[in-house]
């Protein structure tokens, strides 16, 4: 009898040792594009080689909004992943979701993670009420790409790009070319409307160090009002509207691609877009036989320069009530933020590294010397002052605000409203959306 019991116990212990199931964590991300999917898979593979007891299940879950939809369905059915990538403007919704673990909690428990290695601007964006909620992963900001060859043709100095709104508008007009029948065959400036345009608006507010929302952009307490219908906001509306109405800029339509197409095909001399495009812009300039320049966002003259806001997405840890899985997730997160992982990610995609040491290492290796456009994208961010305005706004109503701002631009471009009216209308819409969201909490 005893022998049987002992034998049985030994077997149980043996099997549990041999078959100690490695812990599996689910990671959902929105990084489409063949290279990026591969890059993330490879990073996970590398991590699993270093940590054979952890299995990372990397799952592509559609666009940012698709990922949010899937996340909501999963949370409501009680089966969320361990780690999920959520876009910048989803920050407040995630904080309010009640299912996440603020990254700050993990950092406070783990002395091996130095929070100061995070690029201040990225860290600032995801810090609300003094607490870091998620880890930035793919960070970007907007820059203006310009065609140096066309600058030269127009008699402008390609190495002295405009820095103020006024210079920018004057140059845009000089860069506009019409054919004999009066059709514009080359525009000074182009941009995508829809979500990008609303994002640019937010950026130009930060450039003027102006807040979008009250309570210090919602960082000292829940934002209750939009505050962008002011001088600063009006300058931006006029900036875009003047160029559209005098024909020196072309609205490329919703999304990013049409505007890029116009710029790459050299039908426009300047383009505002995301820094994560730098990779493909450099290639396009090479094959299109023009010389590419990158400039900082211009600012209205006389207004002190603030900075730009970090865009992109961050990684959120979900509370699974399973310490083993949470620890494994945290380990994986630390790996993704490490110097080498960030270098792989950044050089492979065009997003800038969120680890300061990755930037330093890349610089010593001569990467930025060889690729000046990459330097500009990083510099613009590092030269930004970290203020509530440049940290960006947080509110759960952000998607509605973007729609309202873009609609307001449309109303202004089609002359249904004056810039002043459009701006005020957008703010009223934003206030309604904010009040509606806040009434839940």
């Amino acid at each position: 009898m005893w022998r049987k019991i002992i034998l049985f116990s030994v077997m149980v212990i043996l099997t549990s040792v041999i078959f100690a199931a490695p812990v599996t964590i689910q990671f959902w991300h929105a990084m489409g594009g063949t290279d990026r999917i591969q890059l993330l898979q490879n990073l996970a593979k590398e991590f699993m080689q270093q940590n054979p007891d952890i299995k990372v299940d990397v799952q592509y879950t559609g666009s940012y909004t698709d990922t949010m939809t899937k996340m909501i369905a999963a949370v409501r059915a009680g089966n969320p992943p361990d780690l999920v990538m959520i876009y910048d403007i989803g920050t407040q919704m995630m904080i309010d979701s009640g299912v996440i673990i603020p990254i700050q909690n993990m950092i406070d428990k783990d002395p091996t993670f130095d929070i100061n290695t995070l690029v201040s601007a990225s860290r600032g964006y995801y810090t609300v009420g003094g607490k870091l909620y998620s880890l930035p992963f793919n960070s970007s900001n907007p820059v203006i790409f310009y065609n140096k060859t066309l600058f030269e043709k127009a008699g402008l100095n390609p190495n002295n790009p405009p820095t103020t709104f006024e210079e920018f508008m004057a140059d845009a007009q000089k860069l506009t070319v019409k054919d004999s029948s009066g059709n514009t065959i080359q525009y000074g400036f182009t941009f995508g409307s829809g979500e990008p345009l609303a994002w640019f608006f937010e950026q130009f507010m930060a450039v003027q160090n102006a807040l979008l929302l009250n309570n210090n952009n919602g960082r000292d307490g829940r934002a209750t009002k939009a505050v962008f219908a002011n001088e600063a906001g009006l300058r931006i509306f006029n900036f875009f509207n003047d160029m559209i109405q005098n024909g020196s800029a072309i609205n490329a339509g919703p999304g990013w691609d049409n505007a890029r197409q116009i710029f790459i095909s050299q039908r426009a001399a300047m383009l505002i877009t995301s820094t994560s495009d730098v990779n493909m812009m450099v290639k396009a300039a090479k094959s299109g036989n023009f010389s590419l320049g990158v400039m900082f966002l211009p600012h209205p003259s006389g207004v002190p320069y603030g900075g730009v806001i970090v865009g992109g997405a961050s990684l959120w840890m979900v509370n699974t009530h399973n310490t083993q899985r949470e620890e494994a997730t945290w380990k994986f997160l630390k790996f993704l933020e490490s110097v080498d992982a960030q270098i792989q990610w950044s050089t492979g995609t065009g997003y800038f590294p969120v680890n300061k040491n990755s930037i330093i290492k890349l610089m010593y290796e001569g990467y930025y010397a060889q690729n000046p456009p990459y330097l500009v994208t990083v510099l613009q961010l590092l030269m930004s002052n970290v203020t509530p305005a440049t940290s960006g706004g947080v509110t759960g109503a952000f998607p509605q605000i973007r729609i309202a701002v873009n609609d307001a631009f449309g109303k202004m471009f089609t002359k249904a409203m004056t810039p002043q009216q459009a701006l005020q209308w957008a703010q009223d819409q934003a206030n309604q959306a904010i009040a509606n969201y806040n009434s839940l909490y």
Binding site: G32, G33, T34, G62, A77, N79, Q261, A284
Partner: protein, 279 residues
């Protein structure tokens, strides 16, 4: 002699018209085709270039390999065929019930079904539907991909509309011959309705093949993902995508549908099937 010449002339005119119409309609797809054969650097040149410099087949290879498109297409095929078969057969049954039988509550039941035509189903119901899947333990299985779509008002409504155009005399004759309602359906109605059934099967297939948001929400692994999710995987967020590869993927995903349609359209040959009694 003269008559046959006239016929040839007519054929030529029709062919010309068909070619002209096809060119106009296919322009966007032709654009996709040429784009799929361009190098990344050729996609955005100005003036827009119609033909690529050389056939850059690499786009097809990288679209197929980078996302394991073969597996994804297989999943899509399993899902679409199951939905096509289920929807079509159940639709024939219920359409037949509404067109050829008088029974208590028939108009009420029909109205109850008809209303669901107008429910933007996958859109409004994702979350509650997903909760059902979770409680059935169907998440990440073929069940979740197929069962909720196995029957629809669309097919029922069409089959009813169609069966009502078939002369009642046929049914009376069949009854006299002693054929039961099931035999009448399969031996007379279905053969008479080949083209309509072919059409609806085709539509149901395309519907399932193009589902995107539901498969995305309900699958959690690349082994269960579908081709439409694969196409989305080819698209970059926040930066320019490689349009050559995306279009190559799009055309490959279009392939099975077009092959199937080419086979099915043979059913639309005018004048071969007759409506029996009326002639």
């Amino acid at each position: 002699m003269k008559k046959s010449q006239k016929k040839i002339l007519k054929t030529i005119l029709i062919e010309i018209a068909l070619i002209a119409v096809s060119i106009i309609i296919l322009l966007p797809i032709f654009l996709a085709l040429t784009m799929s054969l361009k190098r990344p650097s050729e996609v955005f040149v100005y003036p827009p270039k119609i033909f690529p410099d050389s056939f850059y087949v690499q786009n097809y290879i990288s679209a197929f390999n980078s996302i394991n498109l073969g597996r994804l297409m297989l999943n899509s095929l399993i899902m679409s065929i199951a939905i096509m078969v289920g929807k079509t057969i159940f639709g024939i049954f219920s359409g037949y019930a509404f067109s050829n039988f008088k029974f208590k509550g028939s108009s009420l039941l029909f109205a109850a079904l008809f209303v669901t035509l107008f429910m933007p189903a996958e859109m409004i119901m994702i979350v509650p539907l997903f909760q059902i899947m979770q409680s059935f333990h169907w998440v990440n299985t073929y069940w979740a991909l197929t069962v909720p779509f196995l029957a629809s008002a669309t097919t029922t409504f069409l089959m009813r509309q169609h069966f009502m155009t078939i002369p009642k005399e046929l049914e009376d004759a069949a009854k006299i011959d002693g054929a039961g309602p099931m035999r009448f359906l399969f031996e007379i109605l279905v053969p008479l309705s080949k083209s309509t059934i072919g059409g609806i099967a085709m539509i149901n297939f395309v519907y399932a093949w193009n589902l995107y948001l539901w498969p995305l929400v309900v699958t959690n692994s690349n082994n269960m993902a579908t081709a439409q999710i694969g196409l989305k995987m080819l698209t970059n967020v926040e930066s320019t995508s490689n349009w050559g590869v995306i279009m190559a993927g799009t055309l490959m995903v279009l392939g099975p549908t077009l092959i199937l349609f080419f086979a099915v359209q043979k059913l639309f040959v005018r004048g071969i099937i007759t409506t029996g009694l009326k002639e």
